[in-house]
Symmetry: C2
Subunit: 292 residues, 2 copies
């Protein structure tokens, strides 16, 4: 963790990446990701799939529709797994596009998304309760066997956004799996913004945009995880949540950002906090660019 | 107005400025503003006050404390008014600093803030009521004799942030003046974020950061303007507010941005809106930089 307590350190940690380490990954002329230079050199060896120049890795233009491009990327993934550059498929397919609102140019297994530096999307739900003694948040404890951030604290519900599923459908699915929330309850969640970041990871670049939802729950409701991804839930006073974000690394790296956004929107981090404006801009870095 | 209806056009309109038209304005080595090139050439004639190079206008380093710098800027303002380059003083003093959280390096009359492209700060309050038939917003109609945006629609409360007043104190003062809200009611407003923009204006650059507050009001409360800046208030259903922002220019240019932020935070503009991510990042451009 960063040496000094604070909120902004989490935003900085989620945005550690040196643009000089990467080249653009393009499909049909559109920049859809970023590839680390070492990987670009390896991909130059797959000349049937990629045209590699000093500035970019381009999917060969002969792959000219969604199916052909997706198949080409899947072949590349086979070779990257065989070469030990990607551990394994995650068996979840993500869209590949220059912008979220665009029709996808291809689909890609989640396990290769960071290798190609393709922006991934997710939904995170702040589940909160208004009690006479103040705002409380339902906080999940991630299972110890999770691939990413085992044993860390998490939002009530959080999940990646696969291809072919609407945001609301995905929200409903994740609310059922992660917190045993009936559809009618999940539909009471409302969108409240989005946060973005891009960070260097061993495979390449993890560039994520998380749609954040707020869901006010009845004081009597107790969530229950049904997919084994969370060990348990605790209802924490918002001041305790804020202090653990500020002073510890107990929360999963990106969940810190979702909660900081919640704390700002609900006035828990007040406008005269010295980090306020840097937090507000730092949580909402430009989309779809990875860096200014 | 922009030809096509939409929300994003307001963000684009508030960020129209060509960096090439401006040079940095510096005090003690810190970039605190932007000066249009034509004005920089005029300021080169005030060699006792400014050192002008092709890239920057620097306040002469001999003015080495807050009082001396403020006096020097005030002398410059006298000459700009005499030369017809600034219409008049606004008699409100604004802080000059590289960042909001920094101690101000000088103070400057509001009438000259855009000429020096110094970032100005303000507080805007979304006054809303939860009724059985949905969310409603109290909307002000600006007086016809206002210098800026006469006859346009406005937030419940909005005001610039002068030097020497805390954000909360200013909020309380503005709530009393603009909506006759007692202090106890004003203190119920909570910070909910900030929006930033920088736009070319005839004097130079209008670079603003607005701290946005949400204030839920009782259904029976009726605001009343006491300073003559607003003609009246109307309680509008949120769908009507959203539609007027989307399809018209009825609202003051920057109030559109404050309301779009409110609509996003409250889920009225939903995450699957095609402009969503561009709105989220566009409302929160980097602070304190004026441009990427």
């Amino acid at each position: 963790m960063s040496a000094q307590p604070g909120f902004l350190r989490h935003v900085i940690d989620c945005n550690r990446a040196d643009p000089a380490d990467y080249v653009a990954f393009t499909i049909a002329g559109a920049a859809v990701g970023r590839v680390r230079r070492e990987l670009a050199r390896r991909l130059a060896g797959f000349a049937d799939l990629f045209a590699v120049t000093p500035d970019a890795v381009a999917l060969q233009p002969g792959f000219d529709d969604f199916a052909a491009r997706s198949h080409a990327l899947d072949q590349a993934l086979d070779r990257l797994i065989a070469g030990g550059l990607v551990p394994k498929r995650r068996k979840e397919l993500y869209p590949v596009a220059a912008r979220f609102a665009d029709p996808p140019l291809a689909r890609l297994d989640r396990g290769a998304v960071a290798s190609f530096g393709v922006r991934a999307y997710g939904v995170h739900v702040n589940g909160f309760v208004r009690r006479p003694d103040g705002l409380h948040l339902w906080i999940g404890l991630r299972a110890r066997d999770k691939l990413v951030a085992p044993g860390k604290l998490d939002n009530l519900v959080a999940g990646g956004q696969p291809i072919g599923l609407g945001l609301t459908e995905n929200l409903i699915k994740e609310c059922a799996e992660e917190a045993d929330l009936p559809e009618a309850e999940a539909r009471r969640a409302h969108g409240a913004g989005a946060i973005s970041y891009a960070m260097a990871v061993p495979e390449g670049l993890r560039a994520d945009t998380l749609f954040v939802y707020d869901l006010e729950l009845a004081p009597g409701f107790v969530p229950r995880n049904t997919d084994g991804e969370l060990e348990r839930f605790d209802l924490m006073p918002v001041a305790e949540v804020a202090e653990r974000v500020r002073a510890t690394d107990d929360f999963k790296f990106n969940v810190n950002l979702v909660i900081i956004d919640f704390l700002i929107r609900h006035g828990v981090i007040a406008p005269d906090h010295p980090e306020y404006l840097d937090l507000v801009s730092g949580l909402h870095r430009d989309h779809p660019a990875f860096w200014r």
